[in-house]
């Protein structure tokens, strides 16, 4: 076991898969010479060469569009978007081509594309550069959406994402690249579409993913001091959504809080709550609480930005309310 950062975990996964399969290549803005805006691909260009580490123009449409073409042509591209906020320019390629061509061509082609994109806010990058629009992408059948919250999950899931023949949107978080975690030394993968209990507890079920996993674990530590045992279930994959550990936990605790960095309305929490109501109605002891970003475009002002984003205190408060 080794303790590494999210950045290192993602970088390692990428490197190991590019070593393993020569069809795997990466393209995006600043991935080559610069070594990646978040230093993920530092050293890649020298090792793999410019055919497999490709700097692109500032055009997400081109990045994703050509990657789709490459995938249809038999390669296994990893397209990096500098932030997920820029995915909207390539929306048509992502949801109308990447997600659908395999179906619409009657299975004649596979589309083994991975789009890597970090989201999230908190660095004063202002409204258009700080969003967490994960739910929007998870809405589309045909697209797999993965959003790990720990280094071990990030490495294992990115490997799986590169190895599956389906288009996968791999959502990272811009502010937790330095978050540390234990990772096995040996080769391993983590299957896409499996939720995981990150912390066991008996009083309330916290359902969360990505950056909010660490926030939820912090909240759990605080609540433990008051004698409240919180169980944290990490979704890890948004589509396909694995509700089994969530329901199992909920049947034990009868109360749930869903934590996400995105907005509340039409968000991941809405989907998870609906499924809990559907699948575990008879175990419900209180209405499900949702912790999310305030319903405003994220402010630029540092204090306002932090007020708008969900914090550990909000999670603690929500747990208290659900236990009333």
């Amino acid at each position: 076991m080794a303790e590494i950062t999210m950045r290192e975990a993602i970088s390692q996964a990428l490197w190991e898969e590019m070593e393993r399969d020569e069809r795997v290549f990466i393209q995006g803005e600043e991935v080559g010479v610069w070594g990646g805006t978040y230093a993920i691909t530092k050293g890649f260009l020298d090792h793999f060469g410019k055919e497999r580490v490709r700097d692109t123009p500032i055009s997400e449409t081109a990045i994703v569009g050509s990657a789709i073409g490459a995938a249809l042509g038999g390669l296994r591209p990893v397209a990096e978007l500098m932030t997920i906020n820029f995915a909207f320019v390539a929306m048509d390629h992502i949801v109308n081509e990447a997600a659908k061509l395999h179906y619409m061509f009657g299975g004649q082609f596979i589309l083994p594309l991975v789009i890597r994109a970090p989201g999230g806010g908190g660095r004063q990058l202002a409204a258009t550069h700080s969003q967490t629009p994960d739910a929007i992408f998870a809405h589309f059948p045909g697209l797999k959406v993965v959003a790990p919250g720990t280094p071990v999950d990030a490495k294992g899931l990115l490997k799986s994402a590169i190895r599956v023949d389906d288009p996968v949107l791999f959502i990272e978080n811009a502010t937790i690249y330095q978050q540390k975690g234990e990772v096995p030394a040996e080769e391993y993968t983590i299957p896409i579409g499996k939720s995981k209990v990150q912390r066991e507890g008996s009083d309330v079920t916290l359902v969360t993913y990505s950056k909010m996993v660490s926030y939820s674990l912090k909240a759990a530590e605080e609540l433990e001091k008051e004698g409240i045992e919180v169980e944290v279930v990490d979704l890890r994959t948004l589509r396909p959504l694995d509700m089994e550990p969530v329901i199992e936990s909920f049947k034990k605790t009868n109360r749930a809080v869903i934590v996400e960095e995105g907005w509340r309305s039409y968000g991941v929490g809405a989907e998870v709550a609906a499924r809990i109501y559907e699948e575990a109605f008879d175990y419900l002891d209180a209405p499900i609480q949702r912790v999310a970003q305030k319903e405003v475009p994220l402010p630029y002002n540092a204090r306002l930005e932090q007020m708008a984003l969900p914090q550990v205190a909000d999670i603690v408060q929500a747990v208290r309310e659900v236990l009333e």
Binding site: F281, D282, L284, D285
Partner: protein, 409 residues
């Protein structure tokens, strides 16, 4: 000459009659005595005969209409006669029927709806799904558990506490029959029932009743009847009640007070003895009248009673069948009844209630024996008569019931 047919008075206290249907249509020829229409009194539907011959010029009332007694219902004119209807009907008053306000019905319905809503609100207990489930599994009543959740919601911990405490347990259901709620029905009683009810209530409230019971050895009467019926065709069989009618009629000859009516302090002894016989019909009873039963032989009484009862059962009773009794007999003997007490039929002075004839153990000369006995109870009006007289009547009646030859001599 044109004649106006009026709503006839078919009973001594009839105020209004309902025209059920016209038997003679407009422009039909009618002879005096022909059935003209079916009219419903509060007791029965009766065919009314025309008192005039001619052509039915006009129906002044339609089928289904109720009119007061005396109100014009038709005009019968001679063939070819020219009649000015308006002139003819001048001076007669036409009554407008008032319709009952449907408002009261609506209000009642509204009241019922809001009451139901209130009931439902009171029954609603706030409890979380898991609390409800556990309560159900543990056979606990949510109504007896206090909720500690927001707004008094019963939550899992409340139910778990209740389970621990062992309170709020529903009574263990004994293995019994599943009770199914009966259906309560409310409806308006028939006109006949209403009329009987009114009559009997008046009788009970106004007449000071007293009662005398006697038990009769009817062995010989039964034997005589059997002998007669042996030689008579089935449709002419004599009944026990026929014997009783004649017996009572003959007894009444010596007890004019019991064949009378009182109004205030004025007593009217009727002179004629018309025996009324109670006949059960659907939802009520009618009394058919054997007129001058003291003067008619047993077979005639039997035949008349039989015909009238038949008409009653067929719904074709005539008004004279059911009016004019001076004394009534009510016989429940066909039901295996020991004895009973009847309510006087006003304006009569008394009524005789007859039970079943049965074989019972009796004491004869200090020895136990079996004999036929039939009990009868007279209800009498204490304004007209008293116990001694009633008792004497019952004793005198014994002669005719226990010595049947007296009915023929």
């Amino acid at each position: 000459m044109a004649n106006i047919v009026e709503m006839p008075k078919l009973g001594f206290d009839m105020a209004e009659g309902k025209l059920i249907k016209w038997i003679k249509a407009e422009n039909d020829t009618v002879e005096k005595g022909d059935a003209l229409a079916e009219i419903e009194t509060d007791k029965a539907t009766v065919e009314v005969e025309s008192s005039f011959s001619g052509i039915v010029l006009k129906h002044l009332a339609e089928a289904g209409k109720s009119l007061p007694v005396g109100e014009p219902i038709a005009v019968i004119a001679e063939e070819g006669e020219d009649v000015d209807l308006d002139q003819l009907l001048v001076g007669t008053e036409k009554r407008i029927e008032t319709k009952e306000a449907p408002e009261t019905q609506e209000k009642e319905q509204q009241e019922r709806v809001t009451e139901k809503e209130k009931e439902e609100a009171e029954d609603f207990v706030k409890a979380s799904p898991v609390a409800k489930r556990i309560a159900k599994e543990e056979n606990l009543s949510l109504a007896q558990i206090e909720g500690s959740g927001p707004g008094g919601r019963i939550v899992k911990r409340d139910v778990e506490k209740a389970v621990e405490r062992g309170t709020g347990k529903k009574e263990a259901k004994p293995s019994t029959v599943e009770i199914r709620a009966g259906k309560e029905e409310t409806f308006e009683v028939s006109k006949l029932r209403a009329a009987i009810g009114k009559r009997m209530q008046e009788s009970r409230q106004n007449i000071p009743h007293f009662y005398v019971t006697a038990s009769y050895d009817v062995a010989e009467m039964l034997q005589t009847r059997a002998q007669m019926n042996k030689d008579l065709p089935d449709e002419e069989r004599i009944s026990v009640n026929d014997f009783i009618i004649r017996a009572v009629a003959l007894t009444l000859k010596d007890f004019p007070n019991l064949n009378a009516s009182i109004s205030g302090t004025t007593l009217t002894r009727h002179g004629n003895i018309h025996i009324g016989v109670a006949v059960a019909v659907e939802n009520g009873l009618l009394t058919v009248v054997v007129r001058n039963a003291d003067q008619k032989p047993l077979r005639q009484i039997s035949e008349e009673a039989r015909s009238m009862i038949q008409r009653v059962k067929n719904g074709k009773v005539r008004s004279e069948d059911i009016e004019g009794s001076t004394f009534t007999i009510s016989n429940l003997g066909m039901f295996n009844i020991e004895d009973f007490v009847a309510i006087i039929n006003p304006p009569e002075a008394a009524i005789l209630a007859v039970g079943s004839a049965k074989e019972i153990p009796v004491v004869r000369d200090g020895e136990l024996d079996i004999a036929w006995r039939m009990k009868a109870t007279i209800s009498a009006d204490h304004r007209i008569t008293d116990g001694a007289e009633a008792a004497k009547f019952m004793e005198h009646l014994r002669l005719f019931l226990e010595q049947p030859w007296r009915l023929f001599a």
